[in-house]
Symmetry: C2
Subunit: 330 residues, 2 copies
Amino acid sequence: MSIKALDVIAIGNAIVDVIAAVDDAFIAAEGMAKGGMTLIDAGTAAAVYSRMGPAREISGGSAANTAAGIASFGGQAGFVGRVRDDQLGNIFAHDIRAGGVEFSTAPATMGMPTARCFVFVTPDAQRTMMTFLGASTEITPDDVAPAIIGRAGILYIEGYLWDAPPAKAAVLKAIQAMRASGGKVALTLSDSFCVERHRAEFLDLLDAHVDILFANEAEIGALYETDDFAAAATLAGKAVAVAALTRGPAGSVAIAGAERVESPAEPVAKIVDTTGAGDLYAAGFLFGQALGYDLAASARLGGLAAAEVISHFGARPEQSLADIARAHGL
Amino acid sequence: MSIKALDVIAIGNAIVDVIAAVDDAFIAAEGMAKGGMTLIDAGTAAAVYSRMGPAREISGGSAANTAAGIASFGGQAGFVGRVRDDQLGNIFAHDIRAGGVEFSTAPATMGMPTARCFVFVTPDAQRTMMTFLGASTEITPDDVAPAIIGRAGILYIEGYLWDAPPAKAAVLKAIQAMRASGGKVALTLSDSFCVERHRAEFLDLLDAHVDILFANEAEIGALYETDDFAAAATLAGKAVAVAALTRGPAGSVAIAGAERVESPAEPVAKIVDTTGAGDLYAAGFLFGQALGYDLAASARLGGLAAAEVISHFGARPEQSLADIARAHGL
């Protein structure tokens, strides 16, 4: 085990994505909210799997994708999340470690299998997800070693963890460890439906603990119950020290107190699969913040990472983000 | 279970591919023969996996890819091969069935885990493979139901099965069932190193049982121990009723008695990963033969299918081959 300092320690669901190209009729027939994430149980997962076409498996998980992105930039990242000691768990653990992320959460030897997320990609490159959280929901405070949190400058938490009640205690322990060591706490709101489920808790969390907030337009609107992005952004800017808000092809807005930076989206030759766009934006932005970059440079790194990941299937970078950043003079 | 007639019943190793982009230095450091397939045991598989980068998992297996290709053309295909009742086995069974292939071999409830093949793709789009055959080597004659063989017009066999001695008895049973029902037997030589290992048996098999032979330039050269493609092609043409020989970017040569058809390769905008090129050529060619097409049209279907599969990672078609064939007036 390395004892080096970490730029970011991320905590989230440890998931393998099962990615299939589908048409809009499939999304409609399955009754899914297009663009959203629906939680499913093991029985539903088996039933949906039997109805979907051939797929490819690529490691995913929102915060895990972000950690992989930071490592691809050349940053030091760690990940805390729970898999089972099964083949999918082995795939998840291999991929995140092989990507340069420190991952030392022991695989569970009993309980539910490793989480999987069915990612349905429509011809417009939008992704609609159904997630069986499995083993990842059973993460407990025992899985969070304060020592690893204390080695990191930033703790990054995915909002999806609120869908797994036992995970909340683990998150709270991680937050307390990070507070004790004087680092920063970052949160992504993850999904607008997730925000609807946990709005009050998220608002309390922002007030009490969050330094850096990530959200897309739908999520920040859901949090503040408004369709007015400007109004939601103003509220976010007052709630946290740094708010990084993404708007898909319209780019991003980063706010820190009185400072406000709007950044255009990076051009992409062909958008294939938007899965992971927010996760990788967060990777670039957090890496920039860890390096002490200003809002504009942090947002630029986020935009470059998001552009890479939406140019192919899967939510982990396939090209070196460090090379991409260098090629753009960052 | 359907009782419809099958165009082709394929028998082969049931494998999930674990695909990673690597540089040539990795191939050299691992001591692999570039472009070839090396068999590895479970311990070596774990060691190699720990040294390789993040990967994606896509169902593979040579004859299984061919069956998937035939189904994508709209043909009726079945597959016989053995997985374990584990997560990779479940992925393999899902993907081949979801692709429209009849697959009824029961998963093993004990023994080795489902086979996996590490596919290392270099920047030149060449693939170099290391395969842990696992459960697929334990296929026995009991896994071959003569009834399913008898429903098919063509039995398609992958030469790789000769690397798994117990599988040979299963193949022989399948050949006898096909002979009894009056159908044709097709064989692919699979890999030049595989041919080196089993040359005498392959030559005997061609004499005794094979109607349609698939091989690439290296494989047919290895079979007849010559670097002279024209000489090897002539020998192949005399050994079997139909020989379909592929030459990568140089296209293919199909020979049936005195008839000889040379076909150019289909143009591909960007070759990403050549894995499955031969498997999909065989799919198109066999589908053409099943429909009663002539050599030229059969080879054209093979070329179109190969062109589709080398344009992306993974050895199964991602676009409908039926649509592609229609778009080309076939």
